[in-house]
Point group: C2
Chain length 346, copies 2
């Protein structure tokens, strides 16, 4: 029996308690300053997670961050950070305040660090900021949190430059329904985790842009399939530019997560709006008002990098026509327009 | 202006007349013995293709196979065979009877030749059978025929060992909406064209096997995304075993065509039935009665090969757990059962 600390009691952090406790481990589930209601409710008898609509195993101990002590970390075998990008600063502070001995830390936080100089993934930016983190582990792959909490099967990938550490996490967290593989390509997994949100916008736009009057579902399917393939190819190229391996993009962290992200969620909803000719700001100010759409942040980050470096290749549309179309829609107040003619013949 | 002969006036062959004539070329559209009604109707003023529900350009000349003459081939720049697997013998006979001078021939026919000794693609088996074929070209990628006929955009790939021949076809056939790339990996494109039907059965089964009560759509999405990724990986491995390149499976002929095939069609409908616990024979005897389900033939062909050679690796489920599950459902009268636990942890 291991002791696992999960920082962040949102839907993803809390869902990860399910395979961990099914394996018999004890989990300290730590609420962020935004999670006060969740923790209070989970600590009532029969309490239900307000967003996930599930109870927790009695091997989960939900506590608020104010109750965290150094001893919790000293007693823990491993740490998982389950917050999204806006919470990463908070998580780093907690780790640096509380972690007195070296511990490996796994992150579900997606991808590109907006605070980085230039464009870099959390695999590069977090280790120098967290001295007591003995190893950085990135988690990728298709994983809708609520489905994991319901023990619906999926497959994910744990990445660490020290493959033994990744394997240790997999031994602790893997179950019959949460199938885990490992890789040393932490940079690639993190890059894909961010890029898949970005490309999901463009692929999802294809799902509403080409109506098919003769079909019940009402939409053509060739354009989406072609755009999905193009997204995979461009994701692989960008993954390499960011220091990862192209093969990672063709695995669970890339096409697997892209597939599930196109299937639903905020990036996909933005894409559906764009596909009907609306602008990014229109969709973001209406049905997505107040929501974090991570693919939009990635678009801005990519545009910054690609304008100041390898930008020419992107901006002329030669190599990244789909990425360029998405960046144009986000950066300029224009409708999204992906012209299939921009795909090179030959 | 080129002259193009298209053998087979079914939905695929006829759809290919649209980009060809949009480019100004003249097409001789040749009906098979099964296409008599189609050709008769197309030759009436304002005649509509009975399956496609579209008229043809006046640059298309529809004729029945009985009207074909050697001169037609001598005057033609290129030949496209647009029949499905059951029609391939007929097409080979016509080519051998009528083609008196060397001509390149492109095939939309999907993949594995059931007549081959051992398992081989049409890229291997057709050239020796057609002495006057100067080059074999395989066509792959996501392409629902009716959408192509409606000029909805898609991307496809033309494969020929002589890349110049592939480029020539692409110059003739490519348009703003029919985006074409080329490869020398004809074996890989043909292998993927068959394998994607096969794997679509298994991926589609995931779409009905894991209900999600809390979602409007009613189905979990992680299992489908994980199975899609696993299918891509196994398709790449099998593509290599058949003599193709793994990279081909991660392109238009592989994941692109798999994506659109999972989205609809007979293989997908079989998978949806299997996902609800029904047997292959039950689905094939009811809603798919009398239909050719090409993925089933591929399952039988693969099982034959894999039992007599690399079979061990498949049969123990180590490397091809999804392929094994599909083959078991087809070969044994059992419900389809893909156990995610068969995916290796680590």
């Amino acid at each position: 029996v291991a002791k696992i600390i999960i920082l962040g009691s949102g839907v993803m952090g809390t869902s990860l308690t399910v395979p961990a406790t099914d394996n018999g481990h004890e989990v300290l589930l730590v609420g962020t300053p935004l999670d006060l209601d969740i923790i209070a409710e989970l600590n009532r008898p029969g309490g239900v997670h307000v967003k996930l609509d599930e109870t927790c195993s009695d091997r989960v101990k939900p506590i608020s961050f104010e109750m965290l002590r150094t001893e919790h970390f000293s007693e823990a075998d491993m740490v998982v950070v389950g917050v999204s990008s806006p919470g990463i600063h908070w998580a780093v502070e907690i780790l640096n305040q509380m972690m007195a001995e070296p511990r490996p830390v796994a992150f579900v936080t997606k991808g590109l660090d907006p605070a980085a100089t230039g464009l870099a993934t959390y695999a590069e930016t977090l280790p120098p900021r967290i001295p007591m983190m003995s190893a950085f582990v990135g988690i990728g792959g298709p994983c809708i949190a609520r489905e994991l909490a319901n023990r619906q099967p999926t497959a994910s990938i744990y990445a660490c430059r020290d493959i033994g550490v990744a394997e240790h996490f997999v031994d602790m967290m893997g179950t019959d329904y949460y199938r885990l593989s490992v890789t040393t390509d932490d940079t690639g997994v993190e890059a894909c985790a961010a890029l898949k949100n970005f490309f999901a916008i463009g692929v999802s736009a294809m799902q509403t842009h080409y109506p098919d009057r003769k079909r019940a579902h009402g939409q053509s399917k060739n354009p989406t399939a072609a755009a999905f393939t193009q997204a995979s190819l461009e994701m692989a190229r960008l993954c390499e530019r960011l220091g990862g391996a192209a093969a990672t993009a063709f695995g669970l962290a890339g096409i697997g997560d892209l597939h599930v992200t196109v299937g639903g969620g905020r990036n996909s909803r933005l894409g559906h709006g764009l596909g009907t000719g609306r602008s990014v700001s229109d969709v973001l100010s209406k049905e997505l008002a107040g929501e974090t759409v991570e693919g939009v942040d990635t678009a801005r980050a990519l545009a910054t990098m690609l304008h100041s470096g390898g930008g020419a290749a992107v901006r002329d549309g030669d190599y990244f026509p789909l990425a360029s179309a998405i960046m144009d829609a986000v950066l300029v107040e224009e409708p999204f327009r992906f012209d299939f003619a921009s795909l090179a013949v030959r």
